[in-house]
Symmetry: C3
């Protein structure tokens, strides 16, 4: 086993080391089963995964499940209010405990032989075992859980990376959004036949926006960059900033990313797996909707609509754009090497009423279109990068700096893992 | 090759040895392709497989086919009455000879080039070969076949395990059932996305019955065990036995398993791959039907309905429950590592007439429900045991002794195979 | 890597060497992923592939795509009339450039970020890169292309085999057919769950024709051979030849294969990957149609209908039968180890008008039936050769000499590849 494992690490190290800075990934990083196996360990079972929203599990007993690769996890609100996470696997014979995506339970009972677990994962009944069980071996396998401003993160690692710095950075920015008191108006799951990295590669640049996201570019400044900033654009951005400053000043909220182009993430210098900033929207866009008009009531502590968008991103699986009246979180996980499951959730104020305060056909299209446009593009990339004719290509230093940073972060994670116990 | 093969055996030996007595299997025994490859050799191509019923191939030329992993077999009744089995593969270019599940043939003719085989597997025509064939190399590859009281067994091994001891034990018990003169009233095939071992694990305990098989537990005593036998239950069982003794005495039939719980199988002491015994049904249940009432005419030599159920089990792929008026055989084989094909057959007396003597909607539900309930459970186990959060769990010594015995038998079979030519 | 690659070659060499002359292939050559991987390199990325017809890409900008294994290629007619072939993969991030099977373009623009290539594969625009691209690394990866009498061939090899000898042999024979001025009346794509070699094995003998192609054998002499040629047949063949000689003399066309049975291809002595010859049709058959009657206007330079069939075959992926009034090309490529995509195209004279000069329901059935009959047979062979009961069988020396030649060519190709850099 340890020979096999060393051979795997040596192979993965070779693949990860073959990537050059400012170039796209070599084909083997998409094609080799060994690389995917390593990614599960080095990334998906090591870092912090966004798994859902606190508002989906408000009351004791509320739960949701989350799938990543072959693993199913379950998150349950405890009696005293703590949210806990477990492998969704019975300690008796391994049955998946719960097949529903969400719901509410008093206890978790295995459908097979009725082993029953309290909401804190402790076995409370296993009739028929005749006492032949050892308490330490019957508790549900727990995973680390953190709640941060209404976002739920989990880690399958024994010793996850520090969470506090992420909370410190993100919590103050999330505070006015009031996600803890929001509700998920709609969630859509997309199963896409692409390697998960292509989803990030797509997200980490807006170089493709002009050609593919006609609705997105009307509202945002991301697709511009220093190299293509005209005077006219510069003036528009300045005006938008000024507008925001006035609107936000009273609320103590600030636009932290006030330039064209995307905020740098991941940051190669700090290596941080998280980031958050507030960005200006184009004049006339109060929210990320098709026409810029509000699509629901104001969320959280906002008293003015003109707050731009708050963006949060966490490696390896989440980004969120939050406008004044709704927020959209996108998260994903690999199904296998060549398939990724993506969940997009649209959130509104918790007390907003469908049909009165908002209509889904107004809330959803902006990001529904953007999402589907992106998944279609990713399919075509998947087709190409597996081809024998694919060669890594050069990245734009003005348009794809975040993509380059992601690829460096990714290869670094593989290399750290492969090198750690050689 | 021999290096590869030794590496495979070493790997499999390590996996099989990692299982501990009274614990469920380690994940690798479900997940590793190498383990599945070994199972095909060590188990599926070594032992005796139940492949069908004699009554399905009564007349010369009658045949049925049977699939196991990538192999297709064909069983044909010869002119003189002998049932023979062959790889369903033409000796010319390897074409599958026969794609039908059953039927009747005078000869077996390959659809490709017309090579023709007699019912005994000897090539009788190969027009166009110009005599360029060697008799020894043109006979269909045969497999061993045994008929036992109306059950057909086959082995792909060069030297299969002894069959006589199985016949000696089972034949006398099967005799009054008259399966040779029965007919298959209905057969249903289930393709289930689970590893084949989970089907056995499910079958080798009735610990899950209370929670999952409401109809089954009304008729049977399997789900009780020494540890939960109340005085009331004890009295009911005693009464049932007494009733049976009277009914069976005249026929020379005896209840061989007269206790609650399941009869031990496989038996770790003897290592036998077969077992048979007769078990008492609950008062009011003359047969394994939904309400206990007869669903067809009496089978075989039975003159009284109150004969309990005769149960036959053979590793690695069959169990049967035979009541006075019908019998249900369940057999299966792997399609691949993660899929199993299961065939359930309902048999009645050969001269029973549908619509007059029996109706399928009365004969089938008891085991149709039990089957589907079980396959659903197995799917959830499959999901769990492949998870990184799965750990082997403890087995109940009063409820899962047969399951423990199966897992020991299974690991032993792998270890024997892996160790045999190291 | 080079260790891995040497291990692969050693393994493939062992498999390829295990085949005996005049016997079908050992199972491993169908079952092992390593063999398929080697085939892609040794055969599919080394030789000349038939990829389509010149008449499908007549005007500058016309293109078609072609898929082989994981690779997508695109062929575009240049401004000056040259047909060029490229990997259908953007040099930026690897996106598949074009997802349509055919069409016309002024430039090739990547749907992702708009990188644009001229019809000669040179990058003409990559807005946003800020000049950070090196011309040598931005040209589409080209593949070799040759046009031969209206047939388009391509090679992914760095140094493909010589093409001139093939052109020398085939061009004169193709000349009167006028394929350059033909049109594709219909193309049908078949995705068949069989290993690609079984498609060739099926095509390289007409031993199976009597039993499986009732329409084909009425028109052709292929299914006869020296060993089963009766006097009556001999007379019929003589008469047919005489008829042809008279018809063709004036046109300077000759029947080059004037015997029963199939012309030898591939030829083990020369090792040629191409062949062409003209064959006599049965009396009453002016063309390969259901009743032998013409189904369209005469093609090319033909002035008489009675010209037999011109047949062209090229390893590893094409055969064509051309009658006086229509031609049918069949080409294929592996999708993966166990699946093959086959494209059958029916061509008629370029100026023939559907509904006036021809009707598809007359043009298509002869080869549509033959095709589907063959793919069905191949499925049954695929089932059998993967079975543990399969053993290589003997080939007929009078009926399967071309098949034997194909298998020898195939094993030779693997052995050459595996041995070349050991």
């Amino acid at each position: 086993m340890s020979n096999q494992s060393n051979a795997l690490k040596a192979e993965v190290l070779e693949h990860a080391s073959s990537r050059e800075e400012w170039w796209s990934l070599p084909r083997t990083l998409y094609s080799e089963p060994s690389v995917y196996e390593a990614e599960l360990e080095a990334i998906w079972r090591s870092g912090w995964l966004f798994v859902g929203h606190s508002c989906e599990v408000l009351a004791p007993g509320d739960f949701f499940t989350y799938e990543v690769g072959p693993d199913s996890l379950i998150f349950v609100r405890g009696d005293e209010g703590t949210l806990r996470g477990f492998h969704n696997v019975c300690r008796h014979r391994g049955t998946r405990l719960c097949r529903e995506a969400s719901g509410s339970v008093t206890e978790l009972q295995c459908p097979y032989h009725g082993w029953t677990y309290r909401r804190d994962g402790v076995l409370s009944a296993c009739k028929g075992m005749g006492g032949n069980v050892t308490p330490g071996e019957t508790q549900l396998q727990s995973v680390h859980v953190e709640e941060l401003g209404g976002l739920v993160f989990a880690s399958l690692a024994d010793s996850p990376p520090e969470f506090a710095p992420a909370a410190e950075l993100i919590a103050p920015q999330l505070a006015p959004q009031g996600l803890e008191r929001a509700k998920v108006a709609k969630a859509v799951t997309y199963d896409v036949p692409v390697n998960w990295k292509l989803i990030w590669e797509n997200n980490r640049e807006c170089y493709h926006c002009n050609q593919n996201h006609p609705q997105y570019i009307l509202a945002n400044f991301d697709h511009y960059n220093s190299d293509d900033t005209s005077e006219e654009l510069h003036a528009a951005l300045q005006a938008a900033q000024l507008r925001h400053d006035q609107a936000l000043r009273s609320a103590g909220i600030e636009v932290s990313h006030g330039e064209t182009g995307m905020a740098l993430f991941p940051d190669p210098e700090t290596g941080r797996w998280y980031s958050a900033d507030r960005t200006t929207l184009v004049e006339g866009y109060l929210t990320e909707s098709m026409d810029g008009a509000l699509v629901s009531t104001l969320m959280g502590a906002y008293t003015e609509p003109d707050v731009g968008t708050l963006r949060v991103r966490t490696m390896p699986n989440c980004w969120m754009h939050a406008s004044c009246d709704h927020a959209v979180s996108t998260s994903f996980a690999p199904i296998d090497k060549d398939h990724t499951r993506i969940i997009v959730r649209w959130l509104v104020a918790g007390d907003a009423v469908e049909g009165e305060d908002y209509e889904l056909e107004k809330v959803m299209p902006f990001w529904e279109l953007t999402s589907v446009q992106d998944w279609e593009l990713c399919r075509e990339v998947q087709r190409g990068v597996l081809s024998s004719g694919y060669r890594p290509g050069p990245l734009s230093r003005t348009k794809e700096y975040c993509l380059n940073a992601f690829l460096s972060w990714y290869c670094g994670a593989l290399k750290d893992w492969a090198g750690e116990s050689k």
